[in-house]
Amino acid sequence: MFDAHSPVAVLLLSLFAGAVRVSTPYLFVSIGECLTEKGGRVNLGLEGILVSGAMTGYAAAYLSGSPWLGVLAAGCAGLLLGCLHGLVCSLPRVSDIAFGIALMLVGTGLAFYLGKPFIEPQAPMLSSLDFGSWASSPQLHNALHVNPLFIIGVALAFALQWGLRHTRWGMALRLVGENAESARAMGYPITRVRILATTVGGFFAGVGGAYLSLVYPGSWNEGLSSGQGLMAVALVIFARWQPLRCLWAALIFGAAGALGPALQAIGVTSGYYLFNAAPYVLTLVIMMINCRPDRTLAGAPGELSLTR
């Protein structure tokens, strides 16, 4: 007999709810990074974009009163920073990995500077859709609150998976990332394609940031993001550059991220910091299992500096 109130059931339920709740930023950032990397570039600065997106989204939602405008503004902030990365990395001799680190610093610095006045006020939150009104247990009901941004992210993963394979744009992007020489021979504007991919990737990462400040945890402060942007880069490697696999990977990472709060919910309070480090450990273990020193990973875009 299933007992909805036993600690194990509560733990599993809150892990499941947490997976959906925590995974959305991972999902958006990893889809953005996936797109960027398909074009042959790496943007490690998505961490900075995530934070600026969170700040911009919160500020815009507070000033306009509409959370959806906040999401759009967050995307646009990410778009600008992504475009900056794309443009600068198109210059000769500029390393995309190094500039990503710089962008991390620029993004967080700008967000902390401009976000100072928005730490106190309360912005309107993006409300969730309720799929669980039929459920008898409050935990289950709670778990079935799904945010529309999560649903958009899932749809995006499916759309991108299809689009990369079946559209002219997707084929061009993959060719540019796979073999720049042949793309050039076929007349594709390599630099422009890469800038575009990085820019759109930045937009998605910015939207992921808006989720942090407008949904969960749902406030703007300087400790909001703790490496989700960077972990998403590792997540893309784990997902072997497939948008749909990014979705499953994001859910796993979300569950790992929810482990700390879930354990707290059933009364385990010691080792709080250690449980919160679970996603980092998971990422490292996954990378150690997946990577090999002697060969590049299956599915890795050929032009990628990250896996060389």
Binding site: L105, T108, G109, V233, G271, Y272, C291, R292
Partner: protein, 371 residues
């Protein structure tokens, strides 16, 4: 030009510094623009940054106090960079190094003379940091795990571990508001440099930079590291132990960051607590890139970045700017330094042209050097 051979020669000498110079000017322009857009007095802010960094003996003291750990955390980036690895996990190594040295200080007998206890603390910090970043190198070489990502993840794990231990098993029950380890006994504390109000960490940090420079530029091991960094394949072909070299470079870098943690604990904080996580590990990345991974230039760049950080409080007090202002300035500086690297290609052409000009006055005309 024939009558002014001096000018091209001076230009030739200054040419390698040109991208850095352009980056500095570009940073100041962008930063001023950023402030002007918000209606802030950009000129005043720049003057205040100069004052807050180097304007008085107090400013210098506060600058050098920050430069000391920055030199060591920058080595945590620059040493792995010699073998071609980009490691950005210095913050975690610093935290664990500080924690290890604080633990040693409380474990050793209090009667132990300081000249044994302090080196023991330093050693513990260096081992902790070295093992942590050395593991990043090992993951890279043995499993192919990207070192930039793994080092930052390791840094997050180290910080989680640090907070867990400081607020849990290693917490001094007497530290009520601010969880800390038991204080380092006064006898083991690191004192000030003679005539200065800056601790000995500055001396050891600068010494470590000089030692690293000598090692990298003038030892066979350092030479082997640079070969491995320049062309991994060639290094393997000539039989260099690439894996060992890379792991050693990472471990040495981590040891430097761990030493920075030891000095922060033994000279500044007095115990291991959350104040240790002041971002020196991250600012060290900027220092190393600004120094172009040259250990000797790190000394100068650490003082510069330390100055930027030190000026933050003055900006806050006088102009009411947020404390993140120096972070914005650092970010702009970092981005500019990398973007102006793009000049490098042109630089070569200019160098050849200037060389042709500076020898044009000599009896031997160099025909065909026109570019």
């Amino acid at each position: 030009m024939r009558s002014y051979p001096l000018l091209p020669r001076v230009a030739l000498g200054a040419l390698p510094a040109l991208p850095t110079l352009c980056a500095l000017i570009g940073t100041l322009l962008l930063f001023s623009l950023f402030l002007l857009v918000q209606g802030q007095p950009a000129g005043d802010a720049l003057v205040l940054i100069g004052q807050g960094a180097f304007g008085s003996s107090f400013a210098w003291q506060s600058t050098l106090l920050r430069a000391a750990p920055l030199m060591l955390t920058a080595l945590c980036v620059a040493l792995p960079a010699q073998v071609g690895l980009i490691v950005i996990g210095g913050e975690g190594a610093l935290a664990l190094g500080g924690l290890a040295s604080a633990v040693v200080a409380t474990v050793v007998p209090a009667a132990m003379p300081w000249f044994i206890a302090a080196p023991l603390m330093a050693l513990a910090g260096m081992i902790a940091g070295g093992v942590w970043i050395g593991a990043v190198g090992a993951m890279r070489q043995l499993r192919g795990v990207n070192e930039t990502i793994s080092s930052l993840l390791m840094s997050y794990i180290a910080i989680a571990l640090f907070k867990h231990l400081v607020e849990g098993p290693l917490r001094d029950p007497a530290s009520l508001n601010k969880p800390s380890t038991p204080p380092v006994p006064d006898a083991f504390a690191v004192g000030s440099l003679p005539g200065l109000d800056v601790h000995w960490g500055l001396f050891w940090g600068a010494l470590a930079c000089v030692a690293a420079w000598v090692f990298v530029r003038h030892s066979t091991k350092g030479f082997a590291m640079r070969i491995a960094g320049g062309n991994n394949h060639a290094a393997k072909l000539v039989g260099l132990p690439v894996n060992k070299l890379a792991i050693a470079a990472c471990a040495m870098g981590g040891a430097a960051a761990g030493l920075a943690g030891m000095f922060e604990v033994a000279a500044v904080q007095g115990s291991a607590n959350a104040s240790l996580l002041a971002g020196y590990g991250y600012a060290g990345i900027l220092v190393a890139f600004a120094a172009r991974q040259n250990p000797l230039s790190i000394i100068l760049c650490a003082v510069l970045v330390g100055g930027i950080e030190a000026s933050g409080s003055l900006l806050q007090r006088r102009l009411g700017l947020p404390d993140a202002t120096t972070l914005v300035l650092q970010g702009l500086l970092f981005a500019n330094l990398l973007a102006w690297e793009a000049m490098g290609g042109r630089l070569e052409a200019w160098r050849i042209r200037l060389q042709a000009m500076s020898v044009a006055h000599s009896p031997v005309r160099l025909e065909g050097t026109h570019v």
